[in-house]
């Protein structure tokens, strides 16, 4: 799956991963911090994502606005993402321009300004981002399903944060969060592309090696207790369409159940695309598509398994046809789950899951940006070997293992059933 990867650690604790790829005149640089929504408590939900926004608001060396201009001028692209376990920043640049990206990341690891006026301006941008999400019924539903699935664990809240906190988080809260978590020892620098490893490593040492290390914040986990019974939530809102979301307790990425679960997901709802970039494939031969969509109860069904640090969710989202109902869909869906628990998937279904995963990983390998993504992303919940050995591990999965994991995980008492029910509001004329 990959060429040689250099793995090293600087004295200040920064983990470095370098991978030479000589297929295009590009280099993609990623910095991953081990901080996300799981590091937040009520009162500061959404703060990791907001800090990510502030990282684009300037340092003394690169005042606000100058970087957007500089990166674009060089023909590069950059962006950042925050999720439950991590915050990531990337730049993909023409190979001879990567210096700018490295300098920027080294600089904003320690020198971001968090100017109070910029904080206030960004507050309304982030509130606007949340309001845009609130316009989507599936966001509203998923938010409630998460809250029901995680009573104790911080996966409880969405990455964007609760509106109440977005109104009250202060500049000092943000700056404190930044200073606590943005440390070389809490980060991974991953660079992939057309460079010579020894030259790149030298430059990385020069730019990042002198950044002072600091105490790595301790993460005190609050594990979610065993769920004592099925939980149901209903969200009412505008629209004409009902949605049904089922969330089962899923394994963390390093759990032995994860790979058999990926095969189960492939058979039930179609292969999940674990890549950040690039499209997936259709799921019209999956069991739930056949049952629900060909059965004319639903317009679509998608499933999702995500690689996370702590046990997360295996979720299934169904768009219900207007003449059907969430209740009818749930009955049919449960019949199909029952079949999954009754008898092992076929050898053909396992073979298909493997081939689909192989194809999706092959497609992913074509993009330098995606290669850089995997180099760091995999370190957030496991290590790069997790990615490198994934297909091997997948190809060893047996139908019996899938049956075992289904019986363990697809249990009604360990799930949340969420329904979005339209209140029939029509567009005001």
């Amino acid at each position: 799956m990959s060429e040689a990867v250099l793995r090293t650690r600087l004295r200040n604790g920064l983990e470095v991963r370098l991978k030479e790829i000589h297929t295009a005149p590009l280099i993609s640089s990623w910095v991953w911090y081990r901080v996300g929504a799981r590091n937040e408590v009520p009162g500061i939900t959404g703060i990791s994502h907001w800090v990510e926004h502030m990282q684009f608001k300037g340092t003394p060396l690169f005042p606000t606005g100058t970087l957007d201009r500089a990166i674009s001028r060089e023909g590069g692209t950059w962006n950042a993402f925050t999720w439950m376990d991590w915050t990531a920043y990337f730049e993909t640049m023409p190979q001879d321009r990567i210096e700018l990206a490295l300098r920027v990341e080294a600089d904003r690891m320690q020198n971001s300004l968090f100017d109070p006026a910029e904080v206030e301006s960004e507050r309304s941008v982030i509130i606007s981002e949340r309001e845009g999400s609130e316009n989507e019924p599936t966001f509203r539903l998923s938010e409630e399903v998460h809250a029901a699935a995680f009573r104790v664990h911080p996966y409880h809240h969405m990455t964007i944060g609760d509106m109440a906190d977005l109104h009250t988080i202060s500049r000092d809260d943000l700056y404190g969060h930044y200073k606590r978590h943005y440390l070389p020892g809490n980060a991974v620098l991953a660079v992939a592309g057309n460079f010579k490893t020894s030259t790149m490593l030298r430059r990385v040492r020069e730019l990042f090696g002198s950044i002072p290390s600091g105490p790595i914040p301790e993460y005190s986990n609050r594990p979610e207790p065993e769920q004592p019974g099925e939980r149901r939530v209903t969200v009412e809102g505008p629209g004409q369409t009902s949605f049904l979301e089922l969330a089962y307790q899923g394994p963390e990425a390093t759990h032995e159940d994860f790979v058999p679960m990926a095969v189960l997901d492939s058979a039930l709802t179609g292969a999940s695309n674990l890549n950040l970039f690039g499209g997936g494939i259709s799921n019209k031969t999956s069991r739930l598509y056949k049952k629900l969509v060909e059965g004319e109860l639903a317009a679509s069904v998608v499933g999702g398994l995500a690689a996370t640090v702590h046990p997360y969710l295996y979720s299934i989202m169904v768009t219900v046809r207007p003449e059907s109902s969430p209740e009818k869909v749930l009955t049919a869906l449960d019949e199909e789950i029952e079949r999954m628990l009754d008898k092992a998937v076929t050898v053909e279904e396992v073979a298909r899951a493997i081939k689909q995963a192989k194809a999706l990983f092959a497609y992913a390998s074509e993009s330098i940006t995606n290669q850089g993504f995997w180099l760091g992303y995999s370190e957030m919940f496991a290590d790069y070997a997790w990615f490198e050995t994934y297909l091997d591990r997948l190809s060893k999965v047996t139908p019996d293992q899938v049956l075992e994991v289904a019986r363990k995980r697809l249990v009604p008492t360990k799930r949340v059933v969420g329904v979005y029910r339209p209140n029939g509001t029509a567009a005001a004329a």
Partner: protein, 456 residues
Amino acid sequence: MGQLPRLDIKTLPGPETILRRELGNGITFLARENFSSPSVVVSGYLRAGSLQEEPDMAGLASMTAASLMRGTQKRKFGQIYESIESIGARLNFSASKHSISFSAKALAEDLGVLLDLLHEVLLTPTFPKAQVDRLRAEMLTGLGIRDQETSARADLAFNELIYKGHPYAIPTEGTKGTVAQLTATNVRSFHRKYFRPAGMVICIVGGVKARKAANAVSTRFSSWKANGKAPDLSVPSVKPPRGLKRVRVGLEGKSQADLVMGTAGPSRSDPDFLLAALANNILGRFGMFGRIGDVVREQAGLAYYAYSTLAGGDGPGPWQVVAGVNPSNLEQAIELIRGELTKIIKEPPDEDELGDNKANFIGRLPLQLESNEGVAGAIVNAERHSLGIDYFQKYPDLVARVTRDEILRVAQRFIDPDNLAIASAGPPVAGGKPAGRKPGKKKGAGRRPKARGSKT
């Protein structure tokens, strides 16, 4: 002004690396090899589209495109999808005003499977009634969702304002009213009348030999009988709006308002298109969404997204500014955007700003052409708009030659801040008069929202 990036022209797609052939029945074949990739992409289009629908059958071209994979003379729906999903491949069709497009991807070893299927579904679809009925119900569900989306509703309202009486006013995917009437018979008839090889383009990029790919296409498609010339799918020009034409669509229960404002822009083949694309980049794309992003998002903090987009395409597609704002900030956002539209027609960009944007246009080529999809899309686009297969090699010079006065001229030709369509959709405004027609997942959160693309 700094120096512009210098690209190695030989690395860009051009006559040396693109194989182009015309089959006797009017199909144009294009290919470019990329053996560093394990995959292959097949993309292209037929000259048939929603312009050929009757207005009361809006959505028929889309339904026909979506129905192609629902059954053929040889195979049923389940067998068709089994053949591609079992190998991790994909094949999708979509309709637009001027074309039916296809895009497919597979491991390079499976090119034959893709081409067999492409041929089979284009030439021998059966459109089984039960399948088309099911698809219609799915489309109606989709339209029900669309009708509650603020961004889609603002866009639809914008098109009605700008393209009143023009075919572009009609949504390609139709409305609940029109789609509900469509039948398998309509779909079969549309396919029989309009699907023909003349004008079809098929492009293959990836880890396969170009000549081998050419033979694979020729073997399968050269016997498709010509059945006449490619149709004329040209559209009338559009008169600019007079005054500020305003529509507000009220949607109960929404938090955010979406705003779409602008006018009709140039087609891709308009000689001014490249200038307009550069002007658009300055206006609402460069860096964090250009001047508009700077004023509306970065300075005023009014929106998560505020950017401009230029459609290009086969006709006078829209030149729009799009923003998502809190309803109480809507009027302020409109005025700030109008201010930027005024600025861009009053004075040319300075040398630094123009230089930055030129550098961006040239420097980003390697990134845009990194993937097989990117290369195939660019080659198909060049063929479609008669830009020539040496277009990408000429492109850096074309960009470098653009002057400040040309940017001013093209902005003045298309943009008039006092004559615009302004459509918004969001929560009904208290005391206001919401107006408008009544038709029928991302990972985590991030700094930069996904903007709709603008072509260069």
